[in-house]
Every structure is written in structure tokens, then in C-alpha cells.
């Protein structure tokens, strides 16, 4: 720091490194909590399984074998199907792996699109003071509105299907990310290097991208990850209602709805996808709680 020739860029670098160290400290604190560490490990395995589904799934999730219809778990009839078969005689293990892939994929896509838009809104609100009021008012409106109604309205106008589902989940993800991004960006707006950047003649775009966005993204990304739990839960509910993924697509919510008709004779067909959704969302929420505790010094005593 005593180096007199310290350039602007390296100053920004130093701050980025310091911010990263703080982030690492936060992560270390989170992982010291055994429940949060278990949740993180579980999510890592689930995401790996979802990505690798086409290679690790023992069977084709769409190959039906009517002789094995509703075959229960552990039956000799379908010994190769570890978790039994569904109402079309399809392997439950493979369907759940592909279902996780679809459900997580839909969630990730929606949070990436909605979160990206939200981040843009939040950063713009922090940078352009004139836009702050109108943009945040819009965000308040979005935040106050029940996300499931976006799902209903979009499905009604554009028809049911994956596109409508992702669109609805994206809109639902915008407001909370916008708030986080604005908060993070506002603290950076007060840093001296913002002033310095302006003084050397950088334009708005360069300032927003190089200083605001690059300094805020770790915070925004963490919150986007945590938002995934909510997106998955909402997406599964919409698919369960028949407004999202449509059968025969292996998606956990629509699989649960599909198996509902066989609840009394073959409960595993709908229980397994439900349990999978529950565990994934639970892991995200446990991790989210740990993060909130770690970042809020008031609660940490």
C-alpha cells in the first residue's frame, strides 16, 4: 500500500481481494455450522447428479415397460429398478435423476434471467439517482405481488409449458435480487475509487460494469443461489397444477401430480419426487439461514 505508483486498477484489485477475503470468512463461518455444511455437501452431490444424469441414470427415463407398471420398491419383479417403477413402468431412479435435472435446470435458468435483470435494475437504481425512486417503486410492486399469480397469468396468456414457467419464475426472481444489488452497489458508490474513475473520464457504462458490477457480483451471486430454493418450490407447484412442465417430461412437480392417481396402490410414484423437492429446497433454506446469520452481526452472538 506504500507503493506511490499504485495505479487505480490495482487499487480496485486490492479492494476486490479484500472483499473476497471477507466473503471467504463468511463461507468459513457458514461451513462451521454442521447443518449448513451438510446442506452444502448434499447440494453439491445433487447438482453433480443432475448434471451427470444422462451418464449415471441406469435406464432411459422415458422407456416404459407395461409389465412392470407401478412395481413397488424392493419387489423381485423389478429388482433392477432400485426405487421401483411408475405408472408407465419407467425406472424411478432414472426419472428422479432426470427430474432433478429439469427442475434444477428450470430454476437455474429462471434465477439467472430474473436475477440478471434484477441486478441490472438494482445497479441502475444505485448509480442513476434519478432512477432510484421509480425503479424501486416498481420493485416494491413486483415484490408485493404473489408470484403464483404471475404463473397463472402468464400460463393463461401464453399457454402452459416450459417457456411460460421459466418466464413466470424469472419475473418472480427479479425484485429480491434487485434490492440486494441496489444495497450492495450503494455501499460501493460511496467508495473513493468511484469518484476517481469519474475523474479520469470513464463513462457511465464503464463505471457501472468495471466498478459496480465487478465488485457486487459475489454478493449478488450468493443471493441468486439462495433464491433457487424458492424458485424450485414455485416451479414445482406450477408444474404440479399442470401449468408448467407437461407429462411425460421427467420434472419433479409434474411427476408428483402424475403419481397422485395411484396414491393408494403405489404411493412411491408421487412420494419420491415430492421428497426430492423437499430435500433440495430444505438444503437451500438451511444454507440461506446460515448465510443470513453469518452476515448479520446482530444475530451472531
Amino acid at each position: 500500500m506504500t507503493d506511490a505508483t499504485l495505479s487505480l486498477q490495482s487499487d480496485a484489485d486490492q479492494r476486490a481481494i479484500a472483499a473476497l477475503r471477507r466473503k471467504n470468512a463468511v463461507w468459513r463461518r457458514i461451513l462451521r455450522d454442521p447443518a449448513a455444511a451438510a446442506a452444502a455437501l448434499f447440494l453439491f452431490l445433487i447438482v453433480a447428479a443432475a448434471i451427470l444424469a444422462p451418464w449415471i441414470a441406469p435406464f432411459d427415463p422415458y422407456a416404459s415397460n407395461m409389465r412392470l407398471r407401478l412395481c413397488p420398491i424392493g419387489s423381485d419383479r423389478c429388482a433392477a429398478y432400485l426405487l421401483g417403477a411408475d405408472n408407465q413402468g419407467r425406472d424411478m431412479v432414472s426419472r428422479i435423476l432426470f427430474g432433478l435435472r429439469a427442475t434444477l435446470g428450470i430454476g437455474v435458468l429462471a434465477v439467472a434471467v430474473g436475477g440478471g435483470l434484477g441486478a441490472l435494475i438494482g445497479l441502475s437504481a444505485a448509480y442513476f439517482k434519478r432512477l432510484d425512486q421509480p425503479l424501486m417503486r416498481l420493485v416494491d410492486v413486483l415484490l408485493s405481488f404473489p408470484s403464483i399469480l404471475f404463473g397463472l397469468a402468464i400460463a393463461a396468456v401464453l399457454g402452459t409449458g416450459l417457456f411460460s414457467l421459466v418466464l413466470a419464475l424469472s419475473i418472480a426472481a427479479i425484485p429480491s435480487i434487485a434490492r440486494i444489488a441496489r444495497g450492495a452497489a450503494q455501499s460501493i458508490m460511496q467508495q473513493e475509487y468511484m469518484e476517481a474513475g469519474r475523474a479520469v473520464g470513464l463513462g457511465d457504462g464503464a463505471l457501472i460494469w468495471r466498478y459496480l458490477a465487478l465488485n457486487c457480483w459475489p454478493t449478488i451471486l450468493i443471493y441468486m443461489t439462495l433464491q433457487l430454493g424458492q424458485a424450485i418450490l414455485l416451479g414445482a407447484a406450477l408444474s404440479f397444477l399442470g401449468l408448467g412442465a407437461q407429462p411425460p417430461t421427467a420434472e419433479l412437480g409434474s411427476m408428483a401430480a402424475d403419481g397422485r392417481k395411484f396414491l393408494t396402490i403405489a404411493p412411491h410414484v408421487s412420494t419420491l419426487p415430492c421428497a426430492a423437492i423437499f430435500l433440495v429446497v430444505l438444503a437451500f433454506n438451511i444454507l440461506g439461514d446460515a448465510l443470513r446469520d453469518a452476515m448479520d452481526p446482530k444475530l451472531r452472538q
Binding site: L149, L152, G242, G253, L263, V281
Partner: protein, 312 residues
């Protein structure tokens, strides 16, 4: 206070306009030409054209939107394409069951949540606290439909309680029995957030000066908790319950669909999946407006409970 309410209404207005625009759009995507329907199957092209003119279908969309607004204000939401009954009548039939379901859910879930939250705050850091908090995070993570499926499988399937439809008003025995499972399903996801909010808010107030004063006066532990801290801690809890009305609405749409409960949510989902656009428009409109009205009421209540809100 009046200014506060006026401000809130100002925020709600653009949302309402947006919702109405969606409703209007829904009627635009109807695949059948209304003029053809009115003219009947034997009409010539000229006749259809003149009816088109008469119905104002040739006018620019924004004028048609204005007309639509006028019709909505007169509670004319068109007719269902499937039952051919006025949408308003269909909504009137489904509105009360939905309100009934939500009230039945709040009636047990909110007191239980507050009790659990108070218990957790009083026994902070103990096994009881951790168990309640674990239960609460599980409650917000579980898909509503799984709770419903489990109840249908184990309670309904065993013939203990009905799980298909609504059997009369809540005050009749059969009506009461039929609402138990849906209300338990919907409330199960609601207890968690209420318990958690009560705990957080109570922990804050338990540290406040007036609580220390009460303790110094020699009031007993539970008396301090309930008389002094809990009453002040209720303000955020009331807001939370208000804010979670949207969440409750989402849950009720799923619950109604699962239990064949004849409410607005089930009707909305049915209308969308069967492409009954006028009915879907009406259902979405009433859900959104209902949500906004409840929100406004909670806001006013909040300002009443805590006058500092209205003044700021």
C-alpha cells in the same frame, strides 16, 4: 392516517391497471371471433362485418380497453366459454369457499405459530428452540402438495376424514369435517414463518428497556414475556401475516386443486387448463384484486397498531 391510506392506494393503482391489462389481453387471445358467434352460423360476411362494427371490434385497441374497463366497473366480466354462465356468477359461487379455507387455516396456524415462536424465544438456544426452528425451516421447504398427498394417503385413505370437495358450510358438521384436511394442509406451511417471525421479533423486544424495567419491578418471567414483550412483538407478526397472504394465496390454489375444494384458485387453474379465457380472466382479476384489498387492510391495521408508520 388518511394520507397514508391515500399513498397506499396510489401505489396499488398502477398494479390494478396492469392486472386489468392482462385480463383484457386474455380476452384478445380468444380464438373464436365474437362477431361470428353473435351473428350465428348462417350469417353472411356483410352481416358479420356490420355486427363487428356494432360491437366496436374495429376500433383501436386502447378504446376497446377503455370499454373493457367500463364493463369491469359494472361487474360485467363476460360469460364462461364452457358453462356459458356469467363469469361474475361463477366467481360469486367460489369466493366464499376460498375465504372459508383461508380463515380456517389462519385460525389454527397463527395461534400455533405464535405459541411455538414464544416458546422458542423463551428457551433460546435450548433443544426446544432448535427443534422448533428446525420444524419451521422444514415447514417453509415442504411443497404444499406433499403435505396434502400425505394427508390424503394416510388420513383420507384410511377413511378417517373426507378429502374430496366441500360438504356444506363450515358450521355444519359435514362441512366442518370436509374442511379439516385442506385447512391442515394449507396451515402446515404457514406455522413455520409465523413461529420464526414471532421468535425474532420477541427476542428483539425482550432486550428492550421497558422489558428490563418490568423485570426490575419484579414481574415474573412469563408475565414479562406475555404482557410486555409479546404485545409489542406482535406488530411485525401482523405485518408478516399480511405479507404472507400472497404466499397463502399460492398455497390455497394448490390445496383447492388437490382437495377438489370449489374455490377461486381451483376455478382459475381449471379455466386456464381448459382455455376458458373469459373465466380465467375473471378468476385472475378477482385473485389479484382480493390480494390487493387484503394488503391494504393489513397496511391500515399496521398503521393503526403503530402510529409511527403513518407519520413517517
Amino acid at each position: 392516517m388518511a394520507r397514508h391510506i391515500a399513498q397506499r392506494l396510489m401505489i396499488s393503482f398502477p398494479v390494478l391497471l396492469g392486472v386489468l391489462l392482462i385480463g383484457f389481453l386474455l380476452l384478445q387471445v380468444v380464438p373464436t371471433d365474437p362477431a361470428v358467434v353473435v351473428a350465428g352460423p348462417t350469417a353472411t360476411k356483410a352481416e358479420i362485418d356490420s355486427i363487428r362494427q356494432e360491437l366496436g371490434l374495429n376500433e383501436p385497441l386502447w378504446i376497446q380497453f377503455g370499454r373493457y374497463l367500463g364493463r369491469v366497473l359494472q361487474l360485467d366480466l363476460g360469460r364462461s366459454m364452457i358453462s356459458n354462465r356469467p363469469v361474475v356468477d361463477e366467481i360469486a359461487l367460489t369466493l366464499w369457499p376460498t375465504v372459508e379455507l383461508m380463515l380456517a387455516c389462519l385460525l389454527w396456524a397463527v395461534p400455533l405459530g405464535i405459541t411455538l415462536g414464544t416458546l422458542a424465544a423463551r428457551r433460546r438456544g435450548t433443544l426446544i428452540d432448535r427443534a422448533i426452528m428446525a420444524l419451521s425451516v422444514m415447514g417453509v421447504s415442504v411443497p404444499v402438495f406433499w403435505v396434502g398427498l400425505l394427508l390424503i394417503q394416510y388420513v383420507g385413505g384410511a377413511g378417517l376424514l373426507p378429502f374430496q370437495g366441500r360438504d356444506g358450510p363450515i358450521w355444519s358438521l359435514s362441512g366442518f369435517l370436509s374442511i379439516v384436511l385442506p385447512a391442515v394442509t394449507l396451515g402446515a406451511v404457514f406455522v413455520g414463518p409465523v413461529a420464526r417471525m414471532t421468535r425474532t421479533s420477541l427476542l428483539e423486544t425482550l432486550g428492550a428497556d421497558y422489558v428490563r424495567t418490568a423485570r426490575a419491578k419484579g414481574a415474573s418471567d412469563w408475565r414479562v414475556t406475555i404482557r410486555h414483550a409479546l404485545r409489542n412483538a406482535m406488530i411485525p407478526v401482523v405485518t408478516l401475516v399480511g405479507l404472507q397472504i400472497g404466499f397463502l394465496l399460492g398455497g390455497s390454489i394448490v390445496t383447492e386443486t388437490m382437495f377438489a375444494w370449489p374455490g377461486v384458485g381451483r376455478m382459475a387453474v381449471g379455466a386456464i387448463t381448459s382455455s376458458d379465457f373469459p373465466l380465467a380472466q375473471g378468476a385472475i382479476l378477482i385473485l389479484a384484486v382480493g390480494f390487493m384489498v387484503i394488503n391494504l387492510a393489513v397496511d391500515v391495521l399496521y398503521a393503526y397498531l403503530d402510529p409511527r408508520i403513518a407519520r413517517s
